[in-house]
């Protein structure tokens, strides 16, 4: 059985990618399961989808803990433990990343035995108009890596799954899917089903005992501890201040930020809490002085963020 996981962010089309690949396998005569998995998280948060394909009826269900192939649409997720990209990967597995960073560098950076394949950039994640394309590209690459889906079948699967869209968009996506498929040609068929061990592991069962009701009620006895949830990980664009243009009005960026992560420091300079900024870019769109710019997160993470001028520059502010 093929077990394939797709990692991206909410809104990046991983569900559609899993459906295109699922449809392709189905058209090739496989039994198939495809499903997305999400919880409370929203657009921008790490999510995953998965596909199972086999020649016999599939009896497994739910998430795939030990995948044969992992497809990553957004390479900023790879190093993020919360995204679980590397979870369950062994030396047999293939990790395919859509990235400009070469495989060698990923190999150095990551603590994984998996074989790493790089899918060269075929879409711009930051361009909302290309969102569908992400699905087609990732599915196309995955189809080739399994070696079990032909080009014609892939085209048909894209057409089936994107049937609601216009013919032009469908054609563009078929082309992109095939382009990704061809890019992966040298790795065709390297993702193979892993043999499954049928020796049951210890269950680790316990007999659950009664806890005091105060402990056993679903209640949080704390205030404002959601700061421990780093929603900054959802961000693909980072708002960055150009303090030379900021007039410290504060009310625009500070009031409009839905998450309240822009606050004024003791000198009245606005500061962004990047641990929690979800990257909605409302502040960028609203700042009348254009003192905030949106930077790609991957790039911005490597930079030193500008710090507010010292208080004595106060008079310089208009």
């Amino acid at each position: 059985m093929y077990r394939i996981r797709f990692h991206g962010r909410g809104g990046q089309g991983m569900k559609t990618a899993s459906r295109i690949l699922g449809a392709a396998f189905f058209l090739e005569g496989f039994e198939v399961q495809d499903a997305p998995r999400y919880g409370a998280e929203r657009r921008g948060a790490p999510i995953f989808a998965f596909v199972r394909a086999d020649r016999s009826p599939i009896l497994e269900r739910g998430v795939i803990p030990n995948p044969d192939l992992v497809m990553v649409a957004d390479d900023t997720l790879v190093g993020m433990p919360q995204a679980g990209v590397l979870q369950g990967l062994n030396a047999h597995a293939v990790l395919a990343i859509h990235s400009t960073t070469p495989a060698g560098e990923w190999r150095q950076r990551l603590n994984t035995d998996a074989r790493i394949v790089i899918l060269p950039p075929l879409f711009d994640l930051l361009d909302a108009a290309q969102r569908v394309r992400v699905s087609a590209v990732i599915a196309g690459a995955a189809a080739c890596l399994t070696g079990r889906v032909g080009r014609d079948t892939l085209s048909q699967a894209v057409r089936t799954e994107l049937a609601d869209l216009t013919n032009t968009v469908i054609k563009d996506n078929i082309n992109k899917a095939l382009q990704a498929y061809d890019e992966m040609n040298e790795f065709k068929g390297i993702a193979e089903p892993q043999p499954r061990t049928d020796t049951p592991l210890p269950t680790g069962w316990i007999t659950l005992g009664l806890d005091p009701a105060t402990l056993a009620a679903p209640a949080i006895h704390a205030a404002a501890n959601s700061v421990q949830v780093r929603t900054g990980l959802w961000r693909t664009l980072r708002p960055v201040f150009d303090y030379s243009h900021c007039n410290r009005c504060n009310w625009v960026c500070g009031s409009f930020c839905p998450d309240g992560v822009v606050s004024a420091d003791e000198n009245g300079w606005p500061r962004i809490d990047y641990d929690h900024c979800k990257g909605c870019m409302v502040c960028v769109a609203q700042c009348p002085k254009h003192a905030i710019q949106g930077m790609p997160e991957g790039w911005a993470a490597q930079q030193t963020m500008p710090t507010p001028p010292s208080p004595d520059r106060k008079e310089a502010a208009p």
């Binding site: 205030a223 504060n250 009031s255 839905p258």
Partner: protein, 310 residues
């Protein structure tokens, strides 16, 4: 507006924020923006009583963004939950089992799905009983948490997950403001996060009153309405400027419009930025429906002029 407001201008708006970040609302959520602005003024000496909706995921075990308290009830009965807490606090106070300093303001927080529909009976009952509470409605004009299906708050001509073809929803948005005002509660106001000064003054005003008080916050929803999250505030402002979302208050038995947009920005400017109305512009413009929507807004404001004598 009361001249004694501590919010005389934008510069008076809070510069630090009370509601902790880290909750699972979408990036650019207009509902969260409004709730956060409201919370800044209300403060943490509050207990929020919630009904099923997007904001139920504000507090997911083991994390909460609130400085005060929170109780999730069910979809239909958050105002009844507020009744139970308010009554119990009053009983405890009357027996000196808690002091004034331990008391809390009770705030209901629900979406339009609950407020306009399933929870309306519970809301009406709470007003009948003159319950001392504030009810904050984040109105994103659909059942947002389940993927934006049509609710009683969905406007005419919007497409939703359950109205995917034709002009979308044929019905009209329910006038919850008037339904609430007809109960003659202490206070009803419409607000929007994109107008934070107006919002802050209204919260401040509601806070000083007792009895049933309502804030209906139109909540631009990037996910459900189909727009880039960065447009959240721009679309909110256009909702006000186009007259689609009148900022108004029912107070002391009188209806007051806080802002009469003059001239009205054509509603197309508001609609065309949203995916849920794209079918009114592409592949060809649906002049009939657009005129119909504009006519509804014009008629509303013509009525306001007559009424207010403006």
């Amino acid at each position: 507006m009361s001249p004694k407001s501590q919010f005389s201008g934008m510069k008076d708006l809070p510069k630090t924020h009370l509601l902790a970040p880290g909750s699972a609302m979408c990036a650019g959520c207009g509902g969260l923006e409004a709730v956060r602005e409201i919370y800044d003024v209300l403060g943490g000496k509050t207990v929020f009583v919630n009904a099923a909706g997007c904001m139920t995921l504000m507090s997911v075990y083991p994390y909460t963004p609130f400085r005060g308290s929170w109780l999730y009830t069910a979809m239909a009965s958050a105002p009844a939950g507020a009744q139970g807490i308010r009554d119990a606090l009053d009983i405890l106070k009357s027996h000196d089992r808690i002091g004034e300093d331990e008391d809390l303001d009770v705030v209901v927080l629900t979406g339009d799905g609950s407020a306009y529909g399933m929870g309306l009976s519970s809301t009406s009952g709470a007003i009948d009983r003159d319950l001392d509470f504030l009810y904050v409605i984040y109105d994103n004009e659909g059942y947002g948490n389940t993927g934006q299906q049509t609710s009683a708050a969905t406007p005419h001509g919007a497409r939703t997950a359950t109205a995917t073809s034709g002009i979308g929803v044929a019905g009209r948005k329910k006038d919850l403001f008037s339904i609430l005002a007809a109960h003659e509660p202490a206070y009803v106001a419409t607000v929007i996060g994109a107008e934070p000064l107006d919002l802050a003054r209204k919260v401040e005003r509601a806070k000083t009153m007792s009895g049933p008080r309502f804030l209906i916050a139109l909540s631009p929803c990037p996910t459900g309405w189909g727009f880039d999250p960065q447009l959240s505030v721009e679309i909110g402002k256009l909702a006000v400027k186009s007259g689609a979302w009148p900022l108004k208050e029912y107070v002391d038995g009188r209806l007051v419009h806080n802002r009469v947009p003059k001239p009205l920005v054509p509603v197309e400017e508001y609609l065309k930025r949203q995916g849920r109305f794209r079918h009114l512009f592409e592949p060809r413009k649906d002049e009939f429906t657009l005129m119909d929507i504009q006519a509804q807004i014009d008629a509303y404001w013509a009525g306001v002029m007559d009424h207010d004598g403006a």
